[in-house]
Amino acid sequence: MLCNRPIIVALLMLLIPLPTQARDLSSLFEGTWVGTGWVRPSIFGKKRKTRCRVRGQERARGEAGFSGRCATANRTVKFAFSIKFHDRRKSVTARTRFGKRNEAYDFSGRHHAKGIDLAIDRPFAQNGRTLNSNISIIYLKNDRFAITEIIRDQDTGEVSKAIALTFSH
């Protein structure tokens, strides 16, 4: 289900625009973003149309925070997310919390000219499976971003495209 997945983290990551310097990136998170697309709440199950509304703000140089909600027609998930940009080797770290139990998930990766690539630091468990998550954020024209998440079952190798969303102001 939507609330059991750490994918939401990624949604927030993609709100980040073009500059590659940490201090420039974090300053561009301000504002309200609306996302449309789909998610697979049960990861390997059916797709569900989704909309998101998130608000971002810069907390410090190179650090930003986001909060908001994503909804399918029968469920809303609230979340909070923070991201740090490190100039050294263009690395990125992030943490998200969401769902009923407010679980925390940590991600790390790199940012580049076309976007950001992230991988979950530790696999997570759901419905008896051990899963890894990889998120790609791609910068689009007209101040928009697309995000996709690929979930892989560590044991069976099964792969699912779990998220596809586009965000704009």
Partner: protein
């Protein structure tokens, strides 16, 4: 009294000596009042109306802390002209998505919330989704018609309409916080309507409360204006002079402004209870100002000295004005007997308002006339011959006839009053949540339609405490929950029940095994709001909600008692029932106590006012005679409400107390005139004195009753039915009181009066 006269004499002399200086002092006060009036806040009273020390309120608070409430639910009705199609489903789906994202929305129940088990994937999936083939839509909608885990049905029987129930966060109970969310919801609804051609309507307690506040604001804008206008027209009718009618209206308008300024500066809100106070203050001040204007004109025509006329009129009428204000203030003060915050605030606002009106009458009214006299356009207006005979409408021979038949009339009055009191008491009360909004209002009609489809949105809620050693989902608890659920369902008038048993039935309907694991799994899937409509936040209480629809408070109390008795006859091991609670139940019980307390307040006011009159005039015969003519109208109106089945509502109980406080003013003016005619002596009155006094004061009483009634007639413009009802009751009571003062009071006074023209020495 001599001291009072001396003080009033000094004040009036000061006003007449330097009217311009007094005006200069008044102007900054008026400026502050205007600033204060601009800061007035409005409150529908929903959060405060039942705040009290009563046990039902404490039960409700405990319930609200532990369980989710339905108070902040908003319903959206989506209607198509025919069976909902695939495109309609897509548009409704988009609407649900957008609604979910509104800040303040906690959860949304819609036809997309309904799930069924997909054996192919081994998971629960939505029953209805965009993209379902047209051939499958009818079947899915027919399944969605059945009541769900929430107790609500999502689709109408003809499959043309669907309902969404939006639960807002508890903080949205504050309408200033809910306003942006409601506004965005309206915008989204309009967008869907335009895009899809479907009819989308929004209703629920939050929109209704918002509309009540808009109604209160509109009332303040228009009712006061129209009240002042009507008061002016009546003054014009009686004085037959535009200038006098205009001058007569200045002090009341100043009193209104000062009162509104007080409200704004003190932080007291205008709510559904005190909404009528501003226009009441206006008409009260108008009434006394009319008495004074009459007297100024009469004195001027007698003496030809305008300055002396103003001073003498104030001196003669000030005691009566002070006493009438005291009796009205006492009527308001009697409401402090209630332990409900909103009624006590009404009492405070009323006492202060009446005091402000009195100050305006005794200072601003003579000031207005002093200024008009100084600028010279009053003398010709006020001059004219004095009628040596009473107006034909109330000839003195009529009062002589009444005095001659005083025994019969007094006895008939007593018997009638007793009969009416017997019919009135014990009081039968009535309260409904939507009584402050018109039944023809679109929100109410949509709510009726929503409840016809989804079932009642409101419920009687019964918390059950778990035995200490048991978990909420355990075999013993599930077994007992089934018995309780079934017992409640079987009760007449209960539409549906939501409890843990609802989850068990959901599993059985989908051929799933029922055990603690499967039940817990389903509970885990529920949005938190729905979970806490079944299991308390403390994890130690279960809730059983019986949906009963929008019935009045009497029926609700009977339901509540029937449920308590039914549960008392059952044997429990795992669960212990608490008293039924919830917003409906609390309202039904507390409103009954509140209304009864208001009736007691009236009785207190009646007793104390009579005592005050006796002490003021230092005459026992006045105190005794004051009782019947003022209780009789109230008893008559109360008896009518009981016999007609309308019963006593919150507003009508308030109206009776306030109308009494105002109606007794006429009696005070009669006694004041009697006292003046008798030279303020305490000896036995004569028939001649009584009939002369009545003939003289009769026209003034009639005028002031017409002014009061005309001013209050303005409330028929109110968009709120209870305000209109309040106005109608007060007007009816005023005219009954006028008749009682004109026909019964002389007879009662005559019981201790002397028939001889020669007055007895004390």
């Amino acid at each position: 009294m001599a001291g009072l006269n001396a003080v009033m004499g000094t004040v009036t002399a000061l006003i007449q000596r330097s009217p311009l200086r007094v005006l200069l002092l008044l102007i900054p006060v008026l400026v502050v009042a205007v600033v204060g009036a601009g800061r007035i806040t409005f409150d529908d009273g929903h959060r405060t109306v039942f705040t009290s020390s009563q046990i039902e309120y404490r039960d409700y608070l405990a319930f609200a802390r532990n369980f989710s409430r339905n108070d902040n639910n908003v319903a959206v009705l989506i209607s198509g002209s025919e069976l909902l199609t695939g495109d309609d489903i897509t548009h409704i789906h988009d609407l649900a998505l957008d609604i979910h994202l509104i800040d303040g929305v906690d959860s949304v129940f819609s036809l997309f919330s309904l799930q069924h088990f997909d054996p192919e994937n081994g998971e629960m999936i939505p029953l209805v989704e965009p993209g379902v083939p047209e051939t499958g839509i009818r079947a899915a909608l027919e399944t969605a018609r059945e009541p769900s885990y929430s107790g609500w049905s999502a689709v109408s029987t003809d499959l043309r309409e669907t309902v969404m129930v939006i639960s807002f966060e508890d903080a949205m109970e504050d309408l200033t916080r809910a306003a942006p969310a409601l506004s965005e919801l309206s915008r989204i609804a309009l967008h869907t309507r335009e895009k899809s051609g479907l009819e989308v309507s929004v209703t629920g307690l939050l929109p209704i409360r918002t509309q009540v506040i808009e109604g209160i604001k509109a009332d303040q804008q228009w009712v006061n204006l129209v009240g002042a206008g009507f008061g002016f027209l009546v003054s014009l009718l009686f004085f037959r002079n535009v200038r006098i009618a205009l001058l007569n209206g200045v002090a009341p308008v100043v009193a209104l402004l000062l009162y509104l300024g007080f409200l704004g500066l003190s932080g007291l809100s205008i709510d559904v209870v005190n909404n009528t106070l501003p226009v009441l203050i206006l008409v009260l001040a108008s009434s006394d100002c009319t008495h004074m204007t009459y007297e100024i004109r009469r004195q001027y025509r007698q003496s030809g000295d305008l300055s002396a006329a103003i001073g003498n009129a104030v001196g003669d009428l000030a005691p009566a004005c002070i006493l009438t204000s005291l009796t009205t203030a006492l009527a308001f003060a009697s409401l402090f007997y209630s332990d409900t915050g909103i009624v006590r605030n009404f009492a405070l606002a009323g006492v202060v308002g009446v005091t402000i009106a009195l100050v305006a009458i005794l200072t601003v009214h003579p000031l207005v006339f002093a200024l008009a006299a100084r600028f010279g356009f009053l003398r010709s207006t006020m001059s004219g011959t004095i009628r040596t005979q009473s107006p034909a409408i109330w000839p003195s021979r009529m009062f002589k006839t009444l005095l001659a038949r005083r025994h019969v009339i007094s006895a008939a009055g007593i018997v009638l009053c007793l009969c009416l009191l017997i019919a009135f008491l014990p009081v039968r009360t009535s309260y409904q949540f939507n009584e402050n909004i018109d039944p023809a209002n679109a929100l109410v009609k949509t709510m009726d339609r929503v409840e016809a489809i989804a079932g009642p949105i409101s419920s009687i809620d019964i918390p059950f405490a778990l035995a200490p050693d048991l978990e909420p989902v355990s075999p013993t608890v599930l077994e007992e929950a089934q018995k309780i659920h079934t017992a409640l369902e079987e009760m007449e008038g209960v539409h549906s029940v939501v409890s843990l048993q609802t989850i068990v039935r959901f599993l059985k309907a989908h051929d799933r095994p029922v055990n603690t694991t499967t039940v817990s799994d389903v509970l885990d899937l529920l949005p938190e709001r729905y979970l806490h409509r079944i299991i308390g936040r403390d994890g130690k209480t279960l809730l059983f909600s019986a949906a009963v629809g929008n019935v009045d408070s009497q029926a609700l109390r009977r339901f509540s008692e029937a449920i308590t008795m039914k549960l008392a006859g059952m044997d429990f091991r795992a669960l212990t029932p608490s008293r039924p609670t919830g917003l409906l139940t609390m309202g039904a019980h507390i409103s009954d106590t509140m209304i009864r307390q208001l009736v007691v307040s009236f009785l207190i006011a009646a007793g104390v006012c009579s005592l005050l009159i006796g002490i003021w005039f230092r005459r026992l015969d006045f105190a005794v005679a004051a009782i019947l003519p003022n209780i009789l109208p109230i008893a008559a109106v109360g008896a009518w409400m009981t016999i007609s089945g309308a019963n006593v509502q919150f507003t009508s109980a308030l109206a009776l107390t306030i109308a009494f406080g105002i109606a007794v003013d006429d009696t005070v003016h009669v006694f004041n005139r009697l006292s003046l005619e008798n030279g303020h002596r305490r000896n036995r009155l004569s028939f001649r004195t009584v009939s002369a006094a009545m003939a003289r004061v009769g026209p003034a009483l009639t005028t002031t009753t017409c002014i009061l009634s005309a001013g209050l007639f303005a409330v028929v413009m109110s968009g709120m039915p209870m305000v209109r009802y309040f106005g109608a009751l007060c007007i009816f009571t005023f005219f009954l009181a006028l008749l009682a003062d004109l026909f019964l009071l002389p007879a009662l006074v005559g019981m201790t009066a002397s028939e001889d023209d020669q007055e007895e020495e004390p």
